[in-house]
């Protein structure tokens, strides 16, 4: 596990890049002055909020992130179609439910990303995480098999996130 270096000028290269690109896209101008302003903001903003994000994990394997994002996009498309069928189909066939997913990770950042992933893929919403970060409670629109859903979440999303963050 690697933590972000608090005192470095660029504590997290990803936050730096993200802020830099988002600023350029927001202003939609690419002159030298605006590039300098983007550079200034993407260094100054993380510095201003350094107390809030203290002790955050660093990404251990950044090369795995594009694959994860592509997989997530694909899953969003596939399950959107499934949820559309469920919404338009017979209500009586739906078996909604709360599912307790046991977590292997104990770090707030990867758990937040896992919870967001679950909420973004249709059919499941992260409802709550237990106070000791050991259980993630998920509400699903249709649960034919509770264990299968837990296994799917753990294998498809938690395992790659654990690899990416090295925890």
């Amino acid at each position: 596990m690697k933590r972000i270096k608090e005192n470095a000028i660029v504590p997290s290269p990803f936050t730096f890049l993200l802020l830099f690109i988002v600023w350029l896209l927001l202003t939609n101008s690419y002159g030298l002055g605006n590039l300098l302003l983007a550079l200034f903001l993407s260094i100054a903003l993380p510095w201003l909020v350094r107390d809030i994000r203290s002790n955050t994990l660093r990404v251990a394997k950044p090369l795995k992130t594009p694959g994860y994002i592509l997989m997530l996009l694909w899953d969003i498309i596939v399950s959107n179609v499934i949820v559309a069928q469920q919404v338009l189909g017979a209500k009586e066939n739906l078996r909604p439910g709360f599912v307790a997913v046991p977590l292997d990770m104990r770090e707030p950042l990867p758990i937040t990303l896992l919870a967001s992933t679950i909420s973004l893929t249709p059919g499941t919403v992260s409802t709550e995480v237990s106070e000791d970060y050991s259980t993630l409670y998920v509400h699903a629109l249709n649960v034919p098999d509770e264990q299968a859903l837990i296994q799917q979440i753990k294998q498809r999303y938690e395992t790659p996130l654990k690899e990416i963050f090295g925890c």
Partner: protein, 119 residues
């Protein structure tokens, strides 16, 4: 012509998914199930409409127009948080769940953020 055709197709796909989301909001029986429909429709429905916008304006005007990517980014950041806060609030005011909801007895345990007991 081709560009207009492709972006129309994406607009229709987006519109259909947004419509399904609204239908779900109307049809589904309890709050937790209704929560699924609009939060999900927004990701793919709005996504498809933004793709249409990117394609159309990239060809119509000079240069690639990818500012729409920002909208996608902000939706992806805010949609899960909205869904989480809504369901948290629903648990807090003890909104009723459907009678045949699986693990209905765990609602109190979830509301008080207790861990799942190990067996």
């Amino acid at each position: 012509m081709i560009v207009e055709l492709i972006s129309s197709i994406f607009l229709i796909i987006g519109g259909v998914f947004l419509l399904v989301g609204s239908v779900g909001l109307f049809r589904l029986p309890d709050f937790y199930m209704r929560l699924h429909a609009p939060t999900k429709a927004s990701t793919l429905g709005i996504g498809a409409i933004l793709v249409a916008s990117i394609i159309f304006f990239s060809f119509k005007e000079e240069g690639i127009n990818i500012q729409e990517m920002l909208i996608t980014l902000f939706i992806f950041l805010t949609a899960p948080i909205t869904a989480h806060m809504l369901s948290k609030a629903a648990l807090h005011v003890r909104l009723p769940t459907e009678p045949h909801t699986l693990n209905r007895d765990k609602v109190e345990q979830i509301r008080t953020r207790q861990a799942e007991p190990k067996d």
